[in-house]
């Protein structure tokens, strides 16, 4: 494990005054832990000497649960993994089953999936932005972000019937086409949204307090980030160009022209910038998908009962938090034999110790916010 040099920096007063370390229990009920995450922090005054993560408070046994359902029945439960990015989870599972079945998803369905995925990514990043801002004390960003997220949730409700956990895709395609007028409302939103991002950035990016709180805090080097298997904006904030949408294209992502924002220093500020810029790229992708929407079928040829061939498949997508992977094992029956979720939040949370060592207790809060963890996904 890479050790931060700062961790060795102990206050010189300690030797003279014989001070003691404090062990502070951050969580599981703590406003900044974004759920029921618990961190045992060892402190020298306010400086973090080390920390240990305790997770599992929200473990619901989703993987076991899925083994007792048929392949289709298992879809809605994976929405509950990352409950602020439900559509993406659904895409991950459904994509894995399709990969195992060798089903070709129609092009139009793929495009619709891209649009909904990117909308969900924006929604997820908005929740992150609001809560991260609130952690560092900027209140208004939360409400502005939630306001825009509501617009996306309304779009979901009109399209999929539910706002938060819509059970978006069936195996083989998408359920419905856009309702009448949906595309116009979506385009309207896409017009307004970049201006809203400018507002958030006006409140945060240039703000000297925000910069002082985030620049140089929670640094993780590219080498450490790769070694710790971090993914998503947390990895890209350190300057590693790895985005599943580009690296292992799925669902027609190769058709779209977009950039992957990269950071340089791997600190909280870079991760913040990565995500904010990613939202702009998502808008770009949705616009291209709406413009180039092909005609055609919505669902591939999938029977009412699915019996994939015995074997395994590992399918990864770029979820809002990072690389979301589904490792599914089939024994040829109509039920999954084993479903394993590689959840980005779980893996990203490993990096927190490296990031927090040597920083102050207030920085722990900033780092947790910048990792964008959702405990439903961490604990599964």
């Amino acid at each position: 494990m890479a050790v931060n040099e700062q961790a060795e920096k102990v206050s010189p007063l300690r030797e003279i005054m014989e001070t003691r370390e404090i062990e502070l229990n951050l969580g599981p009920q703590h406003p900044a832990t974004h759920g029921v995450y618990r961190a045992l922090v060892r402190l020298d005054g306010e400086r973090v000497l080390g920390m240990e993560s305790v997770i599992g408070y929200l473990h619901r046994g989703i993987e076991k649960w899925a083994e007792y359902r048929t392949w289709q029945q298992a879809t809605p439960i994976f929405d509950r993994l990352d409950y602020v990015g439900a559509v993406l989870n659904c895409h991950g599972y459904v994509g894995a089953v399709e990969k195992l079945l060798n089903v070709e998803v129609p092009k139009r369905a793929q495009y619709i999936r891209v649009i909904l995925d990117e909308l969900q990514r924006i929604a997820s990043h908005l929740v992150w932005l609001g809560t991260h801002g609130l952690d560092i004390g900027a209140q208004s960003v939360l409400f502005y972000a939630i306001r825009e997220r509501e617009a996306i949730m309304d779009l979901f409700e009109a399209m999929l019937g539910q706002r938060l956990l819509p059970n978006a895709y069936p195996i083989g395609g998408v359920r419905f086409d856009f309702p009448k007028g949906w595309v116009e409302v979506c385009r309207q939103f896409l017009e307004i949204f970049p201006k809203r991002i400018d507002e958030y950035e006006g409140l945060l990016t240039g703000n000297r307090i925000w910069r002082q709180r985030t620049i140089g805090v929670g640094v993780i080097s590219a080498k450490d980030a790769i070694a710790l298997s971090l993914s998503g904006p947390t990895l890209r904030g350190s300057g590693v160009n790895f985005d599943v949408r580009k690296a292992i294209p799925y669902s027609s992502y190769e058709d779209f022209d977009f950039e992957i924002p990269l950071g340089q220093n791997g600190d909280v500020f870079d991760r913040y910038l990565c995500r904010v810029r990613e939202m702009r790229q998502s808008v770009r992708i949705i616009k291209q998908a709406l413009d180039g929407m092909p005609e055609g079928e919505l669902r591939g040829k999938v029977g009412k009962i699915i019996r994939p061939p015995a074997g395994e498949a590992y399918y990864t997508i770029e979820a809002a938090k990072g690389q979301l992977g589904f490792y599914i094992v089939s024994d040829g029956s109509d039920k999954p034999f084993r479903v394993h979720v590689k959840s980005p939040s779980f893996v990203n949370l490993q990096g927190i110790e490296t990031m927090c060592k040597g920083n102050l207790i207030a920085d722990v809060v900033a780092v947790i916010g910048s990792l964008d963890i959702v405990l439903g996904e961490v604990d599964r």
Partner: protein, 350 residues
């Protein structure tokens, strides 16, 4: 002792105190409502709007709810200190209002002068500064006696924060005292009127320093570290019910007091802008007093709006950065400003 003496030394002050406390309590309670409402407006929301018209009964409902809540005393705490700690946070903020001069004195037809102030102390400002230092005890005691780590962190942060910001604040006040030549608040207002300028302009640096330290003193964003609700929950983590309410009310009383003092020192207090007060006072003394109080309230409300505005906008500083700003930025500025103001006083405003 005859009745008149008793009235002079005990009766009138008590009546004045009661007359003062009722509006001050109301203002403090509605300060909460005002803050929540305005904050919501900044954030594109409506804020409390269900209890009564425009949510105006909300403070009463909140107070009632807190009053009816169970008073919890944690097992690890020092019960006696834990119980009396809120008093230290609550009283200094209210006592400070005693020296504030609210309007020009009211002269009765019989020729008796009634100043609009409970106690027109010579060293009024020093008295307030001393009191505001006292309120730190409430926080330290709360943190220490709670027997829990989060309140301890909160109170330790608060103590060093108070230390760091008390000094620049005092220095900025000294600049005003230097300009006015008196510690008495009514004298400061009178001096500003005489000068024809509010001290905002000659003392712009002092005003800036006062503003920043006032925000820090009243533990508000961006310096709300003792509470810092998303990192350490604050020195009042373990408090509930009425004892929590005392801290809450004390905090808002503090904000009100700081706004009021800032108004007096930098915005001319009860001086009505763009009007020759002395001439108006000679013609209509009652009208001038009423208008003066209104002007005072309006100016103080400006302060309050500013506090809420920055709360809506800015993130929170970190502990070490806050101390750095206090000692490295504000203190030198306040000292330099003192020299500047002294020179100004010597050459220009003699």
């Amino acid at each position: 002792m005859d009745f008149a003496t008793i009235m002079q030394y005990a009766g009138w002050p008590l009546i004045k105190i009661v007359i003062l406390l009722i509006p001050v309590f109301t203002v403090v309670a509605y300060m909460v409502w005002f803050e929540r409402r305005l904050l919501a407006f900044f954030q594109s929301r409506l804020g409390p709007n269900r209890v009564g018209p425009l949510g105006l009964i909300q403070p009463i409902a909140d107070g009632l709810k807190l009053f009816l809540k169970e008073d919890l005393v944690p097992m690890n705490s020092r019960p006696f200190l834990f119980k009396i700690a809120p008093i230290f946070a609550f009283f200094p903020a209210f006592v400070g209002f005693a020296i504030v001069s609210w309007a020009l004195p009211w002269v009765t037809p019989s020729g008796k002068v009634h100043p609009f102030v409970v106690a027109d102390v010579d060293l009024g400002i020093l008295f307030v500064l001393a009191l505001s230092s006292l309120s730190i005890f409430g926080i330290i005691l709360a943190g220490w006696s709670s027997g829990s780590k989060y309140p301890l962190f909160g109170s330790l942060r608060s103590a060093s924060q108070m230390l760091a910001y008390e000094v620049p604040m005092t220095l900025s006040v000294v600049a005003v005292v230097l300009l006015a030549g008196s510690f008495r608040l009514s004298d400061i207002v009178a001096a500003q009127e005489k000068l024809g300028w509010y001290y905002l302009f000659p003392g712009i640096l002092a005003f800036g320093v006062y503003l920043v330290s006032a925000v820090a003193e009243s533990n508000r964003v961006p310096f709300d570290l003792p509470e810092g609700e998303s990192e350490i929950i604050g020195f009042h983590t373990e408090y509930s019910g009425m004892r929590f309410a005392w801290y809450f009310v004390g905090e808002y009383a503090n904000v009100t007091l700081i706004s009021v003092l800032g108004t007096t020192m930098f915005l001319g207090g009860y001086d009505i802008p763009f009007v020759n007060d002395a001439a108006l006072y000679a013609a209509h003394p009652e009208l001038t007093s009423v208008l003066g109080v209104c002007a005072f309230a309006a100016k103080a409300a400006l302060f309050a709006v500013f506090f809420i505005w920055i709360r809506a906008t800015w993130p929170r500083y970190r502990y070490d950065q806050l101390l750095k700003i206090g000692w490295i930025v504000l203190l030198p500025i306040a000292l330099a400003n003192l020299v500047l103001v002294a020179l100004l006083k010597l050459w220009l405003l003699r």
